[in-house]
């Protein structure tokens, strides 16, 4: 008898304490995460959750007891009391005590969260509409990270693609952030255009990326793995389509990755002066070549506002087709894309696109999407601006 009772109690304890963090609850509860902070946060979350459940259960028990017992249809006669200093003091004081007991562990965790000192490496995260830029301040490695192409295609209105066939739909990027496990990583957050927010639930890291400001926080990842997150501050049309992917690897693997990235030639996508980028910039490009590359660049960087057909969104985002900029003076066109337009959603693409990419997309805009100016813009012309 006694042993059955113990078994039931231990089963119940197991259910309430362990299960909410297990896989079975992954779709309806906060992840436990993989950093010391995320585990503390999860603990706080479950503690306050159970406190709320107990308070709720007590309140509802009294309320529903009264609703079932003290009803006129059962012949209950109304009492006439309408105050009691004792209970009123009691139900002011008891919640206060509960709050203080909750505030102390919460404050401790908060202090730990804000302590970014003695970091092993620092990564600057910059939010753009609608992608992330990562810069490893210690090694200089830097790159953009945006929604993977397959996902980007599938998520268009009427794409005709069944999104349920796509693995990790909207959670995959072209270039994930690679970080070492067991190291204290300090993140610096800022933005180039509007406010974004960089969130990875498994790291319990969420910080707003604000233009003109640099915020910081940190994570120490304990287990290798791929951790996925999202932008959580409304940042315009494609706010829902700028995921975060963090790939945590053992330190030696990380160091090898860094060496590979900072080594020569691997990165045509960045403005790092590798040999390949150098070569792309210096040679003469043919129209077809520019158009082919320009279409890719346009799809990745311009369609969100200017639309796939170049028609724009009247009143919000100008059209490319027939636009006075895109069919007019070439220097003005370069200036708009290179420097952006102050006070509008048009950002400067100087840092986002390589010389070849920018030349290609400019040429594409002038000779496709219903435009046919006939001129080409060479990467060397963009290089001359830098």
């Amino acid at each position: 008898m006694r042993s059955t009772f113990c078994a039931v109690v231990s089963r119940l304890c197991w259910l309430t304490v362990l299960l909410p963090g297990s896989k079975a609850f992954a779709d309806i509860n906060m992840p436990v995460g993989v950093t010391p902070i995320s585990k503390e946060v999860y603990g706080l979350h479950m503690l306050i959750f159970w406190i709320c459940c107990v308070i709720g259960a007590a309140v509802f028990a009294v309320m529903f007891y009264s609703i079932f017992k003290h009803r006129k249809s059962k012949g209950h006669k109304p009492a006439d009391f309408h105050e009691s200093t004792t209970v009123e003091i009691l139900w002011t004081a008891v919640p206060l005590v509960i709050l203080v007991s909750m505030a102390i562990p919460a404050a401790k965790t908060l202090i730990a969260m804000e302590d970014t000192s003695n970091a092993d490496l620092t990564i600057k995260v910059t939010g753009y509409q609608w992608k992330w830029h990562y810069e490893y301040l210690d090694s200089g490695v830097n790159f953009f990270s945006s929604l993977a192409a397959e996902h980007n295609e599938a998520r268009q209105v009427d794409s005709g693609i069944d999104v349920s066939t796509i693995d990790n739909y909207l959670k995959e990027v072209d270039n994930p952030l690679v970080v070492p496990v067991g190291k204290k990583i300090r993140f610096l957050h800022t933005a180039a255009d509007v406010i974004h927010s960089w969130w990875v639930p498994d790291l319990a890291v969420k910080k707003d990326a604000i233009p003109g400001f640099i915020n910081e926080n940190w994570a120490l990842i304990e287990e290798p793995g791929i951790y996925r997150g999202k932008c959580t501050e409304l940042c315009g049309r494609d706010h829902g389509f700028m995921p975060v992917v963090v790939k945590a690897v053992p330190e030696d693997e990380y160091l090898a990755w860094v060496a590979e990235q900072s080594g020569a030639g691997e990165e045509a996508e960045t403005v790092a002066d590798g040999d390949a980028a150098e070569e792309d910039t210096d040679r003469e490009w043919a129209m077809d070549e520019l158009l082919a590359r320009g279409e890719k660049v346009y799809t990745a960087n311009c369609v969100a506002c200017h639309q796939a057909g170049g028609q724009g969104v009247p009143g919000a985002f100008p059209a490319i087709t027939g636009s006075p900029v895109a069919i007019g003076d070439v220097d003005k066109h370069i200036e708009v894309v290179y420097e952006g337009v102050a006070g509008s959603a048009m950002a400067s693409f100087a840092a986002q696109l390589s010389d070849a990419d920018m030349a290609a997309v400019l040429t594409y805009q002038r000779n496709a999407l219903g435009n046919s100016v006939g001129d080409t813009i060479q990467p060397s012309a963009i290089k001359a601006l830098r």
């Binding site: 709320c52 309140v59 804000e114 969420k206 706010h239 389509f241 919000a316």
Partner: protein, 527 residues
């Protein structure tokens, strides 16, 4: 006194309303204006609800099927603006217009012409706001909080949005001044402050909140306007401004606004629960003090909406502790209502059903609010569907249910007819079931990592989003029952008695049903 004047001097008791549209356009009668506000709010409720259904239709399954993401964003933005400024606030002002003079034994509002004007600004304000949806570039799409610099992107409809917010603000401030003036000047002799019904008390405090914070909002949006059109850089870091400053100013308005949307609801509950429990309200004085404490605290917790913007540790601590404190006076209120029900003699007509629905679900929303106050946990909850679930639990079964409860409770007094009790109960049960199907799963997807304000989501959120969408359509369409019951009751029905409810207490129940066009021209005697 000449004969001519005597002849033309209508005796006020016989002075009924004018006929036709002029009655409504030129009226200075608090009951007519109350009716206008309430009907306006009902119309806006369906417009704002329609927007919510567009949102839930797009979120029915992953992938983009129906709308462009930009239009989706303008739907979330407009849904919030319409529901807050076009539904809840006007409905409360309408109830204040109808009930406050009758509750304090006054003949009308203190400033009747101002009253007319503060209503008639509203339809134009919303015409301006809704017209932006048809302009080039579409309506506002940066969220109802209009955070800079995002809100400064987009089309020239922005200027219309700012002006419409100014109009709504002017209307609210005028309405509030009127309510304050009425409560301080129009009370019947003997109606001391501590004898006023709690609805009057909560509205008095709400009116002060409005007068304090609406100008702050007006200032913030005007700075947005000059940033957009006149080259200032209040909120642009590139020009020496500060985007976070906008958020501080906005939420200094925004948090008291949250209580503007709920304090009158507390007053309504404090009228309805004693009536159907047939027992006086428990802890009247502590209710008044709790309301005042909540109002005070509402001014010093604003930055809990901004725990991720990078505040200093001391700031985060302060706002965490201050926010947790709010649960104390709010708890006192819930406990007082429970104690009012305790050992009463309860019946469960529709107003009481909505009141109990309020009590249960507002408590759920309050408890998730306590969870959100814990800053380290809030960093995980912030800007996810968990927050969406929280504020819909306090606003829909909170503010909206209180308005519906008030309508069922007082409509016999307004129209002289009883509403259809059976349909009212059906409306309550269908609404309550679908409401929970709609909002409860949002807690789950939020905790599991779904950000708010996204038109498309990853596959692990698909099931609960579909459930929520089913709830949304069920809840939305069941409100047609409400509209039907209200219209039916306005047209006729079983005649209501003067007292209407067996346990009713208060001056409004001493006048005839329907309430005559002018009441209490001779002040009543207050015991």
């Amino acid at each position: 006194m000449s004969t001519a004047t005597t002849e033309h001097h209508d005796h006020h008791d016989d002075h009924g309303p004018a006929y036709g549209w002029k009655r409504w356009l030129f009226t200075t009668n608090h009951k007519d204006i109350g009716t206008l506000y309430l009907l306006f709010s009902l119309v806006m409720f369906f417009i704002g609800g329609g927007m919510a259904l567009i949102i839930r239709a797009e979120l029915w399954q992953p992938g983009l099927q129906i709308v462009d993401p930009l239009f989706f964003n303008s739907m979330t933005t407009m849904h919030a603006l319409v529901m807050i400024f076009g539904v809840v606030m006007p409905a409360f002002v309408g109830l204040a217009n109808w009930m406050i003079p009758m509750m304090i034994g006054g003949p009308d509002m203190a400033l009747p012409r101002l009253n007319n004007w503060s209503f008639w600004i509203m339809p134009f304000a919303f015409l301006l706001l809704l017209s932006t949806l048809f302009m080039e570039g579409g309506g506002p799409a940066g969220g109802w909080t209009l955070y800079a610099p995002l809100s400064l992107q987009g089309g020239d409809s922005f200027a219309f949005v700012i002006f419409s917010i100014h109009f709504m603000g002017i209307s609210s401030v005028m309405g509030s001044i009127n309510i304050v003036a009425t409560i301080f000047n129009m009370r019947a002799p003997g109606m001391t402050l501590m004898k006023m019904p709690l609805f009057v008390w909560t509205w008095l405090i709400t009116a002060y909140l409005l007068i304090a914070v609406i100008p702050v909002l007006a200032g913030a949006v005007t700075m947005l306007l000059t940033d957009r059109y006149f080259g200032t850089s209040f909120f642009s870091a590139a020009g020496g401004g500060d985007p976070v400053m906008y958020q501080h100013i906005f939420w200094f308005f925004g948090h008291p606004e949250v209580y503007i949307l709920i304090l009158p609801a507390f007053g309504i509950m404090s009228s309805i629960i004693p009536t159907f429990a047939r027992k006086p309200l428990f802890g009247y004085a502590s209710m008044v003090y709790a309301t005042a404490s909540i109002a005070f605290l509402s001014f010093i917790v604003w930055a809990h909406h901004m725990f991720t913007v990078g505040m200093p540790l001391a700031g985060e601590m302060f706002f965490m502790f201050a926010t947790m404190m709010i649960s104390v006076p709010t708890g006192v209120k819930v406990f007082n209502w429970m104690a009012t029900m305790w050992r009463g003699s309860m019946t469960f007509e529709t107003p009481m059903l909505f009141a109990i629905g309020f009590l249960v679900m507002f408590t759920i929303g309050g408890l998730s609010g306590l969870m959100l106050a814990i800053t380290p946990a809030d960093i995980q909850y912030h800007d996810t569907y968990f927050v969406v679930a929280h504020f819909h639990y306090v606003l829909v079964p909170g503010a909206i249910y209180s308005i519906m409860a008030a309508t069922y409770y007082w409509i016999p007094k307004w129209t002289g007819n009883m509403y259809d009790e059976k349909l009212g109960k059906i409306h309550f049960w269908i609404s309550t079931i679908f409401l929970n199907v709609l909002f409860f799963p949002m807690h789950f997807v939020g905790l599991a990592g779904m950000p708010r304000r996204i038109p498309d989501y990853s596959l692990q959120f698909a099931d609960w989003n579909m459930v929520a969408s089913i709830g949304a359509f069920g809840f939305g369409f069941s409100q047609l029952i409400f509209a039907y019951v209200v219209i039916k009751c306005m047209k006729g029905g079983e005649k209501a008695t003067d007292e209407v409810w067996e346990g009713a207490d208060g001056l409004e129940w001493t006048v005839a049903s329907p309430a005559p066009y002018h009441t209490f021209e001779t002040p009543p005697t207050i015991k």
